[in-house]
């Protein structure tokens, strides 16, 4: 590879030349030319048709197309032959289509909220030098080559190479997730562009100081812009439920249209009138399509989301309710999710012996040295500052030490990501100390002595350093975050403006602090539930691999005695190809240590490539793409940023891992319930279709009209379906493995059970009573009856009433796959009771009340005929219970994916 030079490698003067600028800035004319060429400094994708296209897309699924075409046919039929209520039917179908499409559109439009949150990270106006003058411009007008002025408190509008920096300290948290400040300089550096200490990145905050930088990337080309681009352009893959619904709708649509068209043609060739054939085709299609099913899906998901909210799981996209239930892998952060995010200094360890310091004076001395390298403030009697610094101050104040006065910090050198350490000068008991605290590997080269408590300090040797390293490794291996502390006396005045490097000499290693972030008490049991539910859990953390492994072991993510083979560090991850990462995951890697948030995306994509359903947690701005790329993005409600929350489908109100598992249980229950009511609804399709087949093939009257079918599908079946959607979790819901991604809601088992078993039974009983009433009324085979003939009205009325009553038996049977359905809890489900009441009252009212008779074209029947319709309830319930007994007697237990539909 050839040595190559980029902007961060140049001196300030070379940077000016490379970007065609100078200390006087660009001229306005030149800037205008560049603006035309490069475009505005905007992080939004310029696509004026995005919203319109998104809306249009909602009308391209099979179900919506089918409903729209059906509605059009209805309107055409109404114009050909008015007065048959076809227009009403057309409006009903169009309404359902529109509602479904609008709902999906609103879900998709949420992406806009993430952009609004991202926009807040960029300033509206900026100060630049142009033509030698300082000007205030709209941030959109910035171009590469502009000389940008940075001041304390401002957000950076574009990526800029610093050419002048005075105490310039930046918070890069939006990009790196690391909240510790970074000091920027104007000198050249050898590092990669994204790690350069002379580059100010868009979206980041100037915490202190001031400076000037030449803009070299604007808009979507900035690092922040790339993040924003991903947030806008990444399209969330269809959720498992969406895929399964799509499959179901397609199958039902193909069946409906094929049957409709086939029998339409049959009717045409058999000499029936076009109008009769049209009505007939409509009937077949309407009978086949469960119009009420998709709205009921939505209602069930909405009710599920309410139940989830009670478990601290806030759902922002309804499909995520079920999606969470389908989760196969959870990728979780450690801090705050598995742990309490309450750092505490729990061990103070001597550098060579590895012994815990027990002498209060020795403890106080070590904590005071560490405190010299801290920056904490007291607000309302509470410490504020970096969590680690606060933990040290609290430890010193909380009696962990000898009770002496704490160090007074005179000067602080903040934590530097590249240096991996912070430093400071403090005063302890009239002595002035210079102290450094940070990662062992960076402090080790600075040491001149090692100070074991109670002993003379000794000069460093390889042996002493190796022993200290062994102590550090052991501490990290026990799950502690390890901070090395070193210091020395600093005699005399320290010159103002002296660099940290100049002070870092002759340091004495004081020892190690073992910092612990306690595991949330409910996490181990939640992980155990994941294990029994067949869900894999992966931990992603910025911690040291040994610490990460220890925490993962304590939580139960990996077994006790797990080795480093299950850990992958960020450096290794960076170098792995996606295929190699997939192989590593197959081999059993479960912990990602020393990673940065941008690497989450790589992990998500690899898991998705392995066809796993992935839930990913995140809280930072730069977690947004990974949250969107995952099947289920889970943002932290307490510690999460607005961008993360807007990009996620689920927000954990308590940031607690255990809530995710509770949400998964709820999601699985919702899916089980969806299967139950899908099964329930499809049963009534049988008695709706068969009358049309008989009508076209035999010289018999039509047993059900289109309006009557819609009464079932969009009326009486809705509340019972919702009732099934309310059923509580079955006991074994978290003892089964997650279902596979290609598992179909409309499985062959469900189709056979719905159409060919219970559907046929309902059809047989309702048609039996239909023909009984007809024959009783004087009808004979081949005789034609007018639609307003009282005998026909009574016959079609009892057919409809029978279907409604038999749906009660079907409803109760659907409650459990294995139990009868009359088990405990039936009366707790008030919707179920309401559903049963509706079926009963409606079945009576449509036969015996004038208004419903008029609307539905029905008439009364003798009381014993209506009583016979009631016999349909025990008939369908008993037959189904017998099937359950026979089916479930043999195998003791079946895995979820193979579970038959009922």
């Amino acid at each position: 590879m050839m040595t190559s030079v980029q902007i961060q490698n140049l001196t300030a003067e070379q940077a000016y030349t490379a970007l065609g600028s100078d200390p006087g800035g660009l001229s306005n004319a030149e800037a205008g030319d560049r603006l035309r060429e490069i475009g505005a400094n905007s992080i939004e994708i310029g696509d004026p048709w995005r919203i319109a296209r998104s809306l249009l897309r909602q009308f391209t699924n099979f179900f919506t197309i089918l409903l729209v075409v059906s509605a059009a046919i209805c309107f055409a039929a109404e114009s050909v032959q008015p007065g048959q209520s076809m227009a009403l039917l057309g409006w009903a179908l169009a309404g359902v289509a529109l509602l479904n499409a609008l709902f999906s559109f609103i879900q998709e439009y949420r992406a806009e909220r993430a952009m609004q949150a991202l926009r807040k990270f960029l300033p509206p106006t900026v100060e630049v030098v142009r033509g030698g003058q300082t000007q205030t411009l709209l941030a959109d007008e910035l171009v590469p080559g502009d000389l940008l002025l940075l001041n304390e408190g401002m957000r950076i509008p574009a990526d800029a190479r610093m050419v002048d920096a005075t105490n310039l300290t930046i918070n890069n948290a939006p990009l790196t997730g690391e909240s510790r400040p970074v000091i920027l300089t104007a000198g050249p550096t050898d590092s990669r562009l994204v790690e350069s200490s002379n580059v100010a990145f868009a979206g980041c905050l100037v915490m202190r100081g001031s400076g000037q930088g030449i803009v070299f990337a604007t808009g979507l080309r900035t690092e922040f812009g790339k993040l924003a681009h991903l947030s806008q352009a990444l399209r969330r893959a269809p959720s498992p439920l969406e895929q399964q619904t799509a499959h179901m709708v397609r199958t039902l649509t193909i069946i409906a249209v094929s049957l409709g068209v086939t029998f339409f043609l049959y009717g045409v060739f058999s000499g029936r009138s076009l109008w009769i054939n049209l009505v007939f085709m409509m009937g077949i299609i309407v009978a086949n399509v469960p119009e009420g099913l998709l709205p009921t899906f939505t209602l069930a998901l909405a009710m599920g989301s309410l139940r989830m909210a009670r478990k601290n799981v806030l759902v922002t996209g309804l499909n995520a309710v079920e999606g969470l239930g389908a989760t196969q892998v959870i990728c979780t952060d450690k801090t705050g999710t598995l742990t309490l995010n309450q750092l505490a200094v729990t061990r103070l360890v001597a550098p060579l012996s590895g012994a815990d310091l027990s002498d209060p004076q020795a403890r106080e001395q070590m904590l005071n040295i560490a405190l010299c390298a801290c920056e904490v403030h007291t607000v309302d009697d509470a410490y504020r500052g970096d969590p680690l610094d606060v933990a040290i101050a609290q430890s010193l104040a909380g009696g962990a030490a000898g009770g002496g006065s704490p160090a007074r910090v005179l000067r602080h050198f903040p934590f530097d990501v590249e240096r991996k350490r912070s430093a400071g000068i403090g005063e302890v008991a009239d002595r002035q100390l210079f102290a450094v605290k940070g990662a062992w590997e960076v402090i080790r080269p600075l040491l001149s002595h090692v100070g074991e408590p109670g002993q003379e300090r000794r000069p460093v040797s390889d042996e002493a350093l190796d022993r200290a390293e062994a102590v550090m490794t052991e501490l990290a291996g026990a799950g502690y975050r390890v901070v090395a502390v070193a210091g020395r006396e600093q005699p005399g005045e320290v010159p103002e403006g002296i660099a940290q490097d100049e002070l870092e000499h002759d340091l004495v290693l004081a020892g190690f602090l073992g910092i612990e972030d306690p595991i949330r008490p409910e996490v181990p049991s939640a992980l155990e539930r994941c294990r029994t539910a067949g869900i894999e859990v992966m931990m992603i953390t910025g911690d040291h691999p040994d610490t990460a492994l220890a925490v993962a072991t304590r939580c139960g993510i990996v077994d006790a005695g797990a080795t480093g083979e299950q850990v992958l560090t960020g450096d290794v991850l960076e170098q792995l190809t996606e295929t190699a990462l997939e192989e590593a995951l197959e081999r059993g890697v479960r912990i990602f240590a020393r990673t940065n948030p941008s690497q989450k995306m790589k992990i998500v994509m690899a898991l998705r490539n392995m066809e796993r359903v992935v839930a990913m947690t995140g809280d930072g701005v730069n977690d947004a793409p990974a949250l969107k790329a995952a099947d289920i993005g889970i943002a932290m409600g307490k510690s999460g940023t607005d961008v993360a929350r807007a990009s996620a489908q689920i927000i954990l109100l308590d940031d607690n891992f255990a809530s995710i598992v509770a949400g998964i249980e709820e999601g699985r229950t919702v899916f089980q319930n969806i299967r139950k009511f899908t099964n329930y609804v499809l049963v009534s399709n049988g008695p709706e279709i068969i009358p049309y087949l008989l009508y076209i093939m035999l010289p018999v009257p039509l047993a059900l009209t289109v309006i009557q079918i819609l009464t079932i599908d969009l009326g009486t079946d809705i509340i019972p379906s919702m009732a099934l959607g309310q059923e509580p979790a079955e006991p074994e819901v978290m003892q089964q493995p997650p279902r596979k991604r290609d598992f179909h809601l409309l499985s062959p088992g469900l189709v056979i059970h719905s159409y060919l078993f219970l559907g046929l039974l309902e059809a047989a009983w309702s048609l039996g009573l239909f023909f009984f009433v007809l024959v009783q009324g004087g009808w004979h085979y081949g005789m034609e009856l007018a639609f307003d003939d009282p005998v026909y009205r009574s016959a079609t009325g009892i057919a409809l009433a029978t279907i409604l009553l038999m749906q009660i038996g079907n409803l109760v049977g659907r409650r459990f796959a294995r139990h009868s359905g009359l088990d405990a809890g039936i009366f707790k489900n008030r919707l179920m009771l309401a559903g049963i009441m509706i079926q009963i009252v409606f079945s009576w009212a449509l036969l015996y009340t004038k208004p419903l008779q008029t609307v539905l074209g029905t008439g009364p029947v003798a009381w014993y005929v209506y009583l016979a319709a009631w016999l349909g309830i025990p008939l369908i319930f008993g037959a189904d219970y017998l099937r359950k007994r026979l089916t479930w007697r043999a195998p003791a237990r079946r895995s979820f994916p193979e579970q038959p539909s009922p």
Partner: protein, 278 residues
Amino acid sequence: MIILAHDGSIYGDWVARYAIGFTAVEADRKLLVLHVAEGKVSEEIVESRFNRLGRECASLGIEFLPQVLPLGQSTYRSLRQSVPHDPQSLLICGTRVKPRGQNYLSGTVAEKLLRTHQCPVLALRVVQPGLLGHPHAMLLPLAGHLDGFLRIWPVFSRLAPFLQTVYLFRSMYVNRLRHPYLSSAHERVLKAIGYKYLAKISAEMEAQLEPLPFRTDRRVTISTDWVNDVLVLASRLKVQIMLLGVSERNLAHRVFHGAAMEKVLRDTPCDVGIYRGP
């Protein structure tokens, strides 16, 4: 030899960064810079830019050959007459937005030059001048043509010395209406086809450059919108350049593919190099 079509603007200087980098690893180390005197940029500015380029070339031991061409029938024709017929050379030009237009390639001089067969051509859209023409990570989206790697080689071989990572990418197109109903099994088949093609390209790459001076990775997606996939991947992988081929197929293909190319050029998060595809 590397030939640079320079329009005299600062944008031309940014494109020139690539040309200088390429020339520095050429055997003859010759950089022919052509400028057509259209009158849009003053002679003094062009001269000062050329002087600076000349100094930079001299510092790198590159023979700098500037030529200011009189404007003939058109800029394109003037350039074409001066470009030598040499398949070993590479002509580099910039893709600039047309005045009052939204197009970056369609109808531009760069598009016309891409159609010339005098030598391989690379049209560059530079949006990150801070890279100074030295990209480290490249995205190479491939459409699955039989020509494979050979078509890209004249451009790729010049970029290879700077690269640390190359991502080979193929987007397997699926109709938008069909996409939601694609089975997992079918998806696997499509991905296997994509990966097989990329493996072939990778093998050809290794045969040409053994040992590879950079790391390679392969990505295949199943998509209804390859443009979005390319842009998302470019942002996600933080690549610094992507290379795209433009087709010389029929008009209908050009109309649809051309619109897609314009979208890439407009919304790209990184520099884009365009070469002539099959």
